[in-house]
């Protein structure tokens, strides 16, 4: 039996002791990895929201206020339906300082055959649109034709499959990447397809009251402001001069989300620091107690000729092995729980939430393992040094 195998033997022969320390290290790695994934997911959710909100201002009819929370428009999906006439859109477009304007029509289905949850259908005008098409173009090769749709990442319909919306069969032309927002449950189509769907919906759903021609309504007008004007001034101008509409600055939506996200992220970071501080102290105390208990054993090793340096090495190696074991357990548990419950976390936080890619998750896991592999032996350092410095003669004299 080589002395270099002693740390491993110590771990295997004392399962109770090993398990207790491994659990503490597992708490460290679990909190670090879960926290890192959560903070990263929230940040990338915000980034994707910023990327997708291509407009400076969104103008909604006043009736929208009673149907949806405007601040959450893009976070939880807009399951309501509200409309204004295209004449209103023209009125808005004529205001000063507007560089580009495009109308979108929303339609919420109560049940689509893809799934049993409501789906938001968003109809855009291909000729004027500047918000949806840039990222649809990343996935769909050709322009959308009649009864063709592009679906968000959480709509369970594959490319080439058909989706029945209000009885109309729509072919899925492409699936978009995940954004971690309500946009993931949306279905996109052109205004032409939307008019067909609205007609069908009007026949099936009594609550949908569109008195005019469905092709002459919009739910929201997306505006890009001329750089020579301020977004604030243009939004105020619309709110004052155009009746029965509300202009919302997308920056304020993002900053609202960013503020809530900042709060959640700070809480998570504080929790990680708290858990680490506590676990580190507990680990150091555990190693200290363990060291006291094994004083006699270490003295025996010194008696047979193990140097102080080697003795510290044995103690630190043992701490390292337990840290690797605990670290791996914590990482496995963290991945198991966070990856499986990510939808629940997303729902509970009500913030944009986009999980990191597999490669990034691996990177986080490896970094976590490295961190606990440093923290474990570091917490054992004081006890190892104290033990190796202790006078063997005095320990033997005590006859423990």
């Amino acid at each position: 039996m080589s002395i270099s195998k002693l740390p491993l033997r110590n771990i295997l022969r004392h399962p109770g002791r090993t398990t207790a320390i491994a659990i503490l290290v597992a708490v460290l790695s679990f909190s670090l990895l879960s926290g890192s994934i959560l903070v990263y997911s929230l940040n990338s959710g915000l980034r994707s929201l910023e990327n997708r909100l291509g407009a400076d201002i969104i103008v909604l009819p006043d009736s929208a206020r009673s149907k949806v929370n405007i601040d959450n428009l893009y976070l939880q999906g807009t399951t309501g339906y509200y409309y204004m006439s295209t004449a209103k859109q023209e009125e808005i477009t004529k205001r000063d300082g507007i560089a580009a304007a495009s109308g979108q029509v929303f339609l919420a289905t109560l049940r689509a055959d893809c799934c049993s949850m409501p789906v938001q259908v968003i109809g855009f005008d291909p000729e004027t649109d500047f918000t949806v098409q840039p990222w649809i173009a990343e996935r769909a090769k050709n322009d959308l034709s009649l009864n063709e749709v592009v679906v968000g990442s959480k709509v369970s319909a594959g490319v080439g499959e058909s989706l029945r919306i209000y009885g109309i069969s729509c072919r899925v032309a492409a699936r978009l990447d995940a954004t971690g927002t309500g946009l993931d449950t949306a279905v996109y189509c052109t205004g032409e397809t939307m008019a067909v769907l609205l007609n069908a919906a009007r026949e099936m759903n009594h609550e949908l009251k569109i008195t005019t021609d469905p092709s002459k309504v919009v739910s929201a007008v997306y505006l890009r402001v001329d750089p020579a004007f301020s977004v604030e001034d243009v939004a105020n101008d619309i709110n004052i001069h155009v009746r029965k509409v509300q202009a919302v600055k997308t920056r304020s939506v993002i900053s609202g989300v960013s503020d809530s996200l900042g709060g959640v992220a700070s809480t998570i970071k504080a929790l990680i620091i708290g858990v680490w501080a506590l676990s580190f102290l507990l680990l150091a105390a555990a190693f200290m107690l363990l060291g006291g208990e094994r004083k006699r054993e270490y003295a025996v090793l010194r008696v047979i000729g193990v140097s102080r340096k080697r003795l510290s090495g044995i103690a630190l190696k043992e701490a390292l092995f337990v840290s690797v074991l605990g670290g791996l357990i914590g990482i496995a548990l963290s991945l198991l729980i966070v990856l499986n419950f990510h939808s629940l976390i997303e729902k509970a936080l009500a913030l944009p939430f986009l999980l990191p890619s597999g490669r990034n998750i691996m990177l986080f896991a490896v970094s976590t393992l490295v961190c606990v592999c440093i923290a474990g032996p570091l917490s054992a350092m004081v006890s190892a040094l104290k033990l190796s410095r202790a006078d063997t003669g005095i320990i033997l004299r005590e006859g423990v």
Partner: protein
């Protein structure tokens, strides 16, 4: 009864209770899918019984069968039984993760238990 068998039996039993009661309460599937709910509860109950047997009569059978029970719990929602395809539905948000997490923990613990029993058997 050996301390090891009591510890493993109790922890696995606890996981089974979380699974069996979870799918009846907080992790209830969409539109209260009775079949899925019943199957997961039965699986949880069966593994709990195996864990109990393993505590009283130590051997290789109980941990091995408990591991199979855990695998079944993982596979039931989605693979063995169809669930809502939409990611934001209850069965995807609550039921499946609960079954997968508890199932995976049951499998891991049962395998460790099995390994220790095997080692103990070789030693004696």
């Amino acid at each position: 009864m050996k301390k090891r068998n009591i510890v493993f039996g109790l922890i696995i039993g606890l996981m089974c209770i979380v699974l069996a009661l979870g799918v009846q309460t907080f992790a209830k599937p969409c539109v209260h899918d009775r079949k899925l709910m019943t199957l997961l509860t039965v699986e949880g109950g069966a593994v709990a019984v195996l864990a109990g047997i393993g505590m009283i009569r130590p051997g290789l059978k109980s941990p091995f069968l408990a591991a199979i029970g855990g695998i079944l719990a993982i596979l039931t929602p989605g693979t063995l039984m169809k669930i809502c395809a939409d990611e934001m539905m209850r069965c995807q948000v609550y039921t499946r993760p609960t079954a997968v997490v508890t199932g995976a923990l049951i499998v891991a613990l049962s395998l460790v238990w099995f390994g220790l029993e095997l080692k103990h058997r070789e030693h004696t």
